[in-house]
């Protein structure tokens, strides 16, 4: 019986490729990983947005309206809804001129209790040290 921590780190903006989307779908799939594991074993993900990756967390994305696809906003909120920790680097937000008002802070409207964590890169570094495997997107 054990828990394996995995860090999913998104470094690039949304929509250029599937990159961020795949980070989101893969991290969320940790919920069902136990069907392949021994009893009691679990995968415990942390989803982290750093660098230009913080642009994935901008609110009010109209991807469905204009292109008929789910937004990364929607995916992030789904992550919070299943109680997956979602972290965003606050230094990077500041560098890119993003305020807290512009980014996702919670998914209360969907009934999620967990909130986005605004983390320093130092905290993110410590989380990466605590994860045996790192998955950079």
């Amino acid at each position: 019986m054990g828990a394996l921590k995995l860090c999913f780190v998104v470094q690039r903006p949304p929509y250029k490729s599937e990159n961020a989307r795949l980070a989101l779908t893969h991290s969320i799939s940790s919920q069902t990983a136990e069907i392949h594991l021994d009893d009691g074993d679990t995968i415990v993900p942390t989803l982290i947005f750093v660098g230009d990756g913080v642009l994935n967390a901008v609110k009010n994305q109209q991807a469905m309206k204009h292109y008929g696809v789910t937004s990364t906003e929607n995916h992030i909120k789904n992550g919070l809804l299943i109680d997956m920790p979602v972290w965003i680097c606050k230094e990077d937000m500041q560098r890119l001129g993003l305020t807290e008002a512009q980014v996702i802070t919670d998914a209360e409207e969907m009934g999620a209790e967990l909130k986005m964590k605004f983390a320093s890169f130092d905290e993110i570094q410590k989380e990466m040290e605590a994860c045996p495997h790192l998955l950079f997107f």
Partner: protein, 119 residues
């Protein structure tokens, strides 16, 4: 001897990343390690049989079949494949199809994970 799980995501016809991962897998197996390979995103292109070999493109089907024959467990992301119109009957023999949780579960008993993301 250890277990290495590789996840390959962005690779495509014409990019060197799939070539890299197959050569690395081969080298690891030659040293007695066990290798698991997860193909997701655009790397699911390996899940299409019948790719014609041109000298302009690296043609990896043969190498992949060889590595699968030697015991490399190779699984392709089912949804990513379906989105590209690659159905079960397109999948080369020996390659598995699964949902993403397969990859995460494989990392559990791996000594090392090399996750090749990017664009």
């Amino acid at each position: 001897m250890g277990v290495l799980t590789m996840g390959v995501f962005p690779s495509l016809v014409g990019s060197g990343t799939l070539d890299f991962s197959f050569k690395l897998a081969e080298a690891a197996m030659a040293k007695g390690h066990t290798v698991n390979l997860w193909l997701s995103g655009n790397a699911v292109m390996m899940a299409k049989k019948g790719q014609r070999a041109f000298k302009d493109y690296s043609h990896l089907e043969k190498k992949m079949m060889e590595l699968i024959g030697k015991g490399m467990e190779t699984t392709v992301c089912e949804a990513c494949a379906e989105a590209r119109g690659y159905h079960k009957e397109d999948t080369p023999p020996g390659m598995k199809r699964a949902s993403m949780d397969w990859y995460l579960a494989k990392t559990f008993k791996s000594d090392r994970v090399l996750h090749i993301g990017g664009e």
